[in-house]
Symmetry: D3
Subunit: 276 residues, 6 copies
Amino acid sequence: MFHHSSRLQYEVRVDTPDPQFAKFLQQAIGGVEGEIRVAMQYFFQAMGARGNPKYRDMLMMTATEELSHIEFLGHAVALNLEGAPVSVQEEAARDPVVHAIMGGANPRHILSSGLSAMPVNANGVPFDMSHIYASGNLAADMMANVMAESTGRVLASRLYNMTDDAGMKDMLSFLIARDTMHQQQWLAVIEDMGGMAAALPIPNSTPESHEAVEHSYYFLNTSLDEPTPHGRWTSGPSLDGKAEFHVVEGVQHGLGQKPDLGKARDDSGAQVEQMA
Amino acid sequence: MFHHSSRLQYEVRVDTPDPQFAKFLQQAIGGVEGEIRVAMQYFFQAMGARGNPKYRDMLMMTATEELSHIEFLGHAVALNLEGAPVSVQEEAARDPVVHAIMGGANPRHILSSGLSAMPVNANGVPFDMSHIYASGNLAADMMANVMAESTGRVLASRLYNMTDDAGMKDMLSFLIARDTMHQQQWLAVIEDMGGMAAALPIPNSTPESHEAVEHSYYFLNTSLDEPTPHGRWTSGPSLDGKAEFHVVEGVQHGLGQKPDLGKARDDSGAQVEQMA
Amino acid sequence: MFHHSSRLQYEVRVDTPDPQFAKFLQQAIGGVEGEIRVAMQYFFQAMGARGNPKYRDMLMMTATEELSHIEFLGHAVALNLEGAPVSVQEEAARDPVVHAIMGGANPRHILSSGLSAMPVNANGVPFDMSHIYASGNLAADMMANVMAESTGRVLASRLYNMTDDAGMKDMLSFLIARDTMHQQQWLAVIEDMGGMAAALPIPNSTPESHEAVEHSYYFLNTSLDEPTPHGRWTSGPSLDGKAEFHVVEGVQHGLGQKPDLGKARDDSGAQVEQMA
Amino acid sequence: MFHHSSRLQYEVRVDTPDPQFAKFLQQAIGGVEGEIRVAMQYFFQAMGARGNPKYRDMLMMTATEELSHIEFLGHAVALNLEGAPVSVQEEAARDPVVHAIMGGANPRHILSSGLSAMPVNANGVPFDMSHIYASGNLAADMMANVMAESTGRVLASRLYNMTDDAGMKDMLSFLIARDTMHQQQWLAVIEDMGGMAAALPIPNSTPESHEAVEHSYYFLNTSLDEPTPHGRWTSGPSLDGKAEFHVVEGVQHGLGQKPDLGKARDDSGAQVEQMA
Amino acid sequence: MFHHSSRLQYEVRVDTPDPQFAKFLQQAIGGVEGEIRVAMQYFFQAMGARGNPKYRDMLMMTATEELSHIEFLGHAVALNLEGAPVSVQEEAARDPVVHAIMGGANPRHILSSGLSAMPVNANGVPFDMSHIYASGNLAADMMANVMAESTGRVLASRLYNMTDDAGMKDMLSFLIARDTMHQQQWLAVIEDMGGMAAALPIPNSTPESHEAVEHSYYFLNTSLDEPTPHGRWTSGPSLDGKAEFHVVEGVQHGLGQKPDLGKARDDSGAQVEQMA
Amino acid sequence: MFHHSSRLQYEVRVDTPDPQFAKFLQQAIGGVEGEIRVAMQYFFQAMGARGNPKYRDMLMMTATEELSHIEFLGHAVALNLEGAPVSVQEEAARDPVVHAIMGGANPRHILSSGLSAMPVNANGVPFDMSHIYASGNLAADMMANVMAESTGRVLASRLYNMTDDAGMKDMLSFLIARDTMHQQQWLAVIEDMGGMAAALPIPNSTPESHEAVEHSYYFLNTSLDEPTPHGRWTSGPSLDGKAEFHVVEGVQHGLGQKPDLGKARDDSGAQVEQMA
């Protein structure tokens, strides 16, 4: 069960409201790299967690923290919209600088939300829940979480560079810090479960008899004219310790047949010429 | 530039067509764990790759391979739909077993595609390109790719279990194998760039002055009644080697203010009671 | 800031797991009538609330409660999926009754979530955040909330009828009860602000000079052959107490012009015939 | 069956075309507060109406009116786009003021529609029909309609403030007026059916035995540190006249169990560590 | 301006209600091949029509007809849902045949719409307005319309085959007939404007100086191993009468450069290794 | 199976990077008129092609070409983003002209992709695969393809007009040329199959007994006050050569019944007043 306390997890201060930056901040709320995504992802992963319950508890605790991140970012958006002109009669609206800024703002911050945060990204596209990955496989979920926190910290770092408001920089430095922790937290779960080599290939419960292992460890060069780009993935032991990486190159013609579906059936709504 | 050759990358054989399994297979084409996603993701990452060009080349080569995966899966869907009744006059349609199976099939395989694959998932929901992660940060992108291949191999393993058609099992064993390789390929890029510790926190280019480092290494227990779930993430050196993990617990009241936006402005479309 | 405690808000008991009912229950999680919607809607309304802070506090408290509803419904979905066949080798999968039920289940409960809840509706369509209404106008928001709780209670009542599992009926009777409260809670806010007549028309801050009041109180009969359906809306005082309802009927030809955009411009990408 | 006559329902005049305002106006066509939504919502409600046919007739008549609103708004968008530069060779395109305005315009008004209206909102996001609420319960539908007209009138009022074009203000004053009527029209249906108290709780056909009535009339304070915000919803008779409102406060620990799904099953695609 | 009359455009009779067929019929309402699409597409094309006003008038008249198609199909869905079990207590719900049918029905027909039509397709996916093509180019729009009516008639023909209800077959034979007319109507507009050759290439207003005409008339064989599939498109005069079709074959290596974006910039959120 | 070679299909040169034009170009990648759409549409049509295999081969070859179009357009977007300010500290960011341009750019080109192309349109809305039409009917598919290439060439022509960068104009002149070919290629398939008259009505396999032919050849005037707009579609032989076009005009009252669904059922979640 959830509870709430009245103070924000972190102080939000906006020295100079900036409606354009309000639009940018929306990416951190409703973008695929944002906080709704991680809050809901960890929440659904927790609800579906099977196995050692400590992982479930940890997921739920961090899901709860991420809800608090939405909350302070939402406040930051509203504070950046303070003073934005809502009427062409206003002084500000006649100011060419303000006019130019408003051209780059999200018009729905005025038209739809009345100067408040929305669950949308920096283009005004609503977040959709297809981005919540909760696979029932803990290692796959941890990879999804590392990815979410990695793109999240990339985003927060870019937002930090796109403002010179001291209050916003301070808030973003907190977000950057928490994303640092969460990246490592999810990787630490892999360590905790026995380490990356043991986790691979994910799922590690698939019987080897279900796998055409002769195709499991080669890099396929599909280029007609490029040499194979060599690296850790083309030679040496595989990361799961089970084989050696190697390369298949040269123009590969497929191992399968040329597909042919034959004629269309009567009653199938095709043209008669397809049935001949 | 892309080219095509006529044979499928891998042989597709369906011993007993099964329209319900055709619906399931759609998840591997148009699901978030599917092949359109990885093909397009690696393609866009390649197009945006900056830095050592070998990573770009590798991404493009594997993007190209994934397009071939869509192709043989698409053929597998069509073969599973052979013989599905397209008319209630047909013998098959009057068979109660067939009728029951068709109830669990995707009706659009008959109505919209005429017994062929569609770019949709197992619920018939079209794939949408918001799932293509190409962040411009190579480490974040690799995490996105590991996640895609992990959920992809989980899916392929589950599909393997959901059929007893020998042809389909053979094809899926190839997919499982290639996902094994690709999981490791993307992790090997991290190794190739200096290893996970050096890659963290992602992006590793964010100056430390942009980060509130006092918040970067603690696990936050947000529960009122659960003890901290201890593990690799609560003590010991952090995975980036820069600090020690620790825990902040107890009921945390926020570090910030109680938010208050004051009164609504005139002309803002609020109720007058909000302006008083 | 948010917190969590370990026990569910309400007991969840499933006497006989039913994967088809798991699919139905998803509507109460990720449907437009579901709990993600109300949790996020009240949360965003709270974050944007201006005026008397007691409304903000109330919204946040109920948003928090709704998060707990997601949590116990998510558990109910997982419990209904216990025992669903994940492999065609299983006994259950060969049982024709189970087979028929699985045809009506959500295949992604096996393929994508591994027998757990997802943030999708009963058709497997992910929830999207365009459904979060937080307009900055408290009365409009309350109407959105009454609507959400009304369709929510309709849904819960229908789900109650679609199961005969005693545990599920008990859980749904709790949801029905809370929806009863919440419908009235939001209407009570209107009362608290001065009552419905005073709230109308929403927004009540629009100056009368912005309104063509001669068009504000008539019902328009747009039918060629139906008499006006008389009722409270065709005569008597208007609900805002400012005028009398009346009717405009007979074939209305428009008050405006016949639209004509003239020729297409050069360089506009039209056909040359449109430019002549 | 539908018919059309050639003149717009209301005169559309644009004194000074403004491509940025054309973008804003799109919210009234293809936004969630817009006219496609209400036209389609009332149309689907009418098609599904059961009970006294006068409500069906009324819904269809107003659906028809709303189609006419789309029509004149669509013309208004096109007129606001007259003269927008479609080529960088044009005089206007070189004017810095025009250039700034075009930066805040919808580029698809040039690229995709050739200077005409589109079924999208002010961010260019297409309207989607998940927003059509037609529940089969007349009272719930009426609440959805009041909400649609309330957010619609909030939007029209904000648009009125965002232009100083006399023609546009005149057109919007008509929209504001019709939204006034329609808000009251739908509330009047509730009156007509016996009044709000009788309508509650929606659906009023749910037997009391399906409801855990001991949970139906209390406000739940989920905050750790905020006192209950008192108001009409915390004491006094409930709005359905069946009980007294009261409050449950203090830190509530849940009434249910701590959820535990146990181990993952073999063949379920989880990690082996989850099966131990 | 729109008007309505009370009778459906065509008689709707359902001899044997079939909830599964109700789900199928949804494709004709809310599918991409359905009636919402054509109604809205012709409506938006009419609103944006420039040039000879007779095309605008024709588009609006047929848009109006298509609204009437939605109406009778909506009624057909509701009639097919008559008698579907809404409670497990009902006799019908215990009937195994009914149970199997309901497994293949849309659960939201019970849960969300109360046995009525919804603006969704046969998978329950809501229609979205991105499918409305109104380009401002009359010839392109006509092609969009022919395509819509072609896929529409394919769908109607398949639905005809999927039912043996005489009433439904009769209604669908009317839809098939109107789609026959509308396919030809839109092609006739091309004739009316001077014929296909004159219309091509669309837009025919693009100056030849904007086109690299040396690339305008060859079929490009991109296969490594397939001979060119010869046909009307590989030789003979082009359909616009301006050139001869020919073929470019053999492995084509691109005419352009190998792309290289160089190093990532500081402050761009990339990894430091990408900046070296 | 797919392959790749290293050089772009066409040279991409950007003389003066323009982040606003990068946003516009996105429409040609991820817009409904763009290259992802055609690449995927031809690919899925090829996978589902039944009948003469030469059409399948041709579709696959052109699908492959379109993938190469995505590739060079993606490079063009990245080159247009070179030099865009990613930090407010940069010189460029302080330049008012740059500031104004960035207001009209896609913020996610900085925040999400790190100055690279994305699979989104000019509004930042991701492409979704519901736009892939592959009906199983070759003639319907060809119409879909002509439409895609027609709107595609309209778009490319408009983009040509919206830039004065010589490199971009050169690249777009190539796109315009290829769209010219592809429009005609798909129409040539119709010729190749026997010509348009023989193809109509699509599908031409629907038995005439499934069609209410008395409704197949009249234009329906649904206007109350407009005369029928005469043209090729109102008289003369129909385009399929089977009948004469004619007109039905005057106020048409429907041929069907007035719909009436009667009372709502118990247990259906309606209001009790609907059941009376």
